[in-house]
């Protein structure tokens, strides 16, 4: 059922050696490959068959669900709409990710639109990795969208990673935070060659006592381009922070535009942004520990994107 390429992609994007335990839904080339549900986590196709609805029962603790997507069909652009309904007081991990294997001249792509409704006091950790490989020269496109709605006291921790091989990415993250909710987003994107990636983020702190922290780490190699936009809008007494760092190597190009909008006098919003080459004192330190220049660069990038 899973061939060698599928297994390699699953290992890379979802750390899976074969099929996972517990609830999962594996989508291959636009179709359901395999699905399992558990006592607390239900997965079903949505009404028009364009995606899945994952429903997690209230109070579900320490369970996880894997929903990887793999693509290896030339010329296919797969669009999927997935909904996640996380019941009150649950504490779960969702592992998504898309791996593309391109073996021809034809383009391949995937757009995953993921909507999360996180119930009162619930916690969700969402891990998403995007990766493309293969000998083909077809353009590989990945356009993920996440929409997050946090109810009172809910927490969402999002780890979003694009680790290589993706020619074009338009990444969109939107979130609306209820009272006393917490959102942590860490996005890591590596581009090289002539790749392009755009990340557009809009976070609305609607509830009193809500908190959001968005961290972006970009590495831009070769002639690649990355643009990062983040808007944090505060409608209530709240705290929000944006931290965006970009390392430029070779001829990379980067626009970083953090934007803070306070619509309440007790809002506290901050941002820090930096774009630049690897600091020479970091390189010298690692070289003084016996690493070569290239080893030092790799180690610094590896840590930066960790």
């Amino acid at each position: 059922m899973l061939d060698v390429i599928d297994k390699d992609l699953l290992k890379t994007v979802a750390d899976l050696e074969g099929l996972p335990k517990g609830a999962f839904n594996i989508r291959k080339n636009g179709k359901l490959l395999k699905r399992e549900v558990s006592a607390n986590i239900n997965i079903e196709s949505n009404a028009d068959g364009s995606g899945i609805v994952v429903t997690i029962k209230p109070g579900t603790i320490n369970e996880s669900v894997h929903i990887p997507v793999i693509l290896s069909q030339a010329g296919l652009y797969d669009v999927v709409y997935n909904n996640f309904i996380i019941g009150e007081g649950a504490d779960v991990t969702i592992i998504a990710g898309c791996g593309i294997h391109c073996g021809s001249q034809e383009p391949e792509g995937h757009a995953g639109i993921h909507e999360f409704r996180v119930g009162k006091g619930a916690k969700v950790k969402y891990v998403e990795k995007h990766y493309a490989s293969g000998p083909g020269r077809g353009r590989r496109t990945l356009n993920p969208t996440t929409k997050v709605f946090l109810e009172a006291g809910a927490t969402a921790e999002m780890e979003l990673t694009q680790i290589g091989g993706v020619d074009e990415a338009n990444r969109t993250n939107e979130a609306t935070l209820g009272p006393d909710s917490l959102l942590l987003i860490t996005e890591r994107v590596l581009t090289e060659g002539n790749q392009k990636a755009v990340s557009a983020n809009t976070i609305i702190l609607a509830g009193a006592g809500s908190r959001a922290n968005m961290i972006s780490r970009s590495v831009i190699k070769g002639d690649s381009e990355q643009d990062f936009y983040a808007t944090m809008e505060a409608l209530a007494p709240c705290f929000g922070h944006i931290e965006c760092d970009a390392i430029i190597m070779d001829n990379g190009r980067n626009d970083t535009v953090p934007s803070l909008k306070a619509r309440h006098p007790d809002a506290a919003l901050t941002h820090e942004a930096s774009i630049g080459k690897i600091a020479s004192d970091q390189l010298m330190k690692l070289m003084s520990l016996g690493l070569t220049y290239d080893e030092a660069v790799n180690r610094i990038i590896q840590g930066f994107l960790k």
Binding site: R217, D245, A279, D281, Q282, M284, K285, L286, M287, S288, L289, G290, L291, T292, Y293, R299, I300, Q302, G303, F304, L305, K306
Partner: protein, 243 residues
Amino acid sequence: MLELKDLYFSVSGRNIIDGMNHTFEKGKFYGITGPNGSGKTTLAKLIMGINQVSSGSISFQGKEISSLSITERAREGIAYSFQQPARFKGITFRDLLAMAAGTDDEEMLLALLRRVGICSLSFLDNPVDAKLSGGEIKKIELATTIARNPKLAIYDEPDTGIDLWTIQPMVRLLKREQKEHGTTTVVVSHNRAFLEAADIVLMISEGKLVYKGDLKGALPMLNDLSVCNYRKCVGDKDVGCYR
């Protein structure tokens, strides 16, 4: 074990290191001192290869190293502790220590912590980032230098950011390393505790080596040199030296 011959380092026609000659003997503890801007740190950086010599030679254990990279000098057995250590994103103390020691074996890393006198194990997984205090990052810097098991260890102002109560234990640590591992130790410092611990004090002024010997002999000269090295500070409209 380390020989400097006719060493010059110039920037924009000005000699920062101005014809220096000296031989560092194996297993000795050297304190390098002198006024601000005299060339102490520059000399240390020339030895490590962070700055490249303008002319002259540096030989280490009989091998000319002045054209070698930082990496090559590190692999020859020279370790360097930076005055202002680098801070990273996503790299922990454990990562740096493992790189320095060439192993990520837990037992070996714990043994290193004991050797340098860091007792808190949780400290090992601290990111080496901007959140660390000046004292904490200097301890990490010291530990990664010692973890190299160097033949020659260079410490550039190791007491920067360190509280008063930590300086003596730090001196004792460097002396113990010298004694137990035969480490040739070079400490750039203004701090009397390090200079008292030194077998030989080297004093640098205006890029020249102006004294070598014990601290006692250096003190009158130090007092004289440290008054003022801004020679233009003599006119009626100048504020004059606060001393």
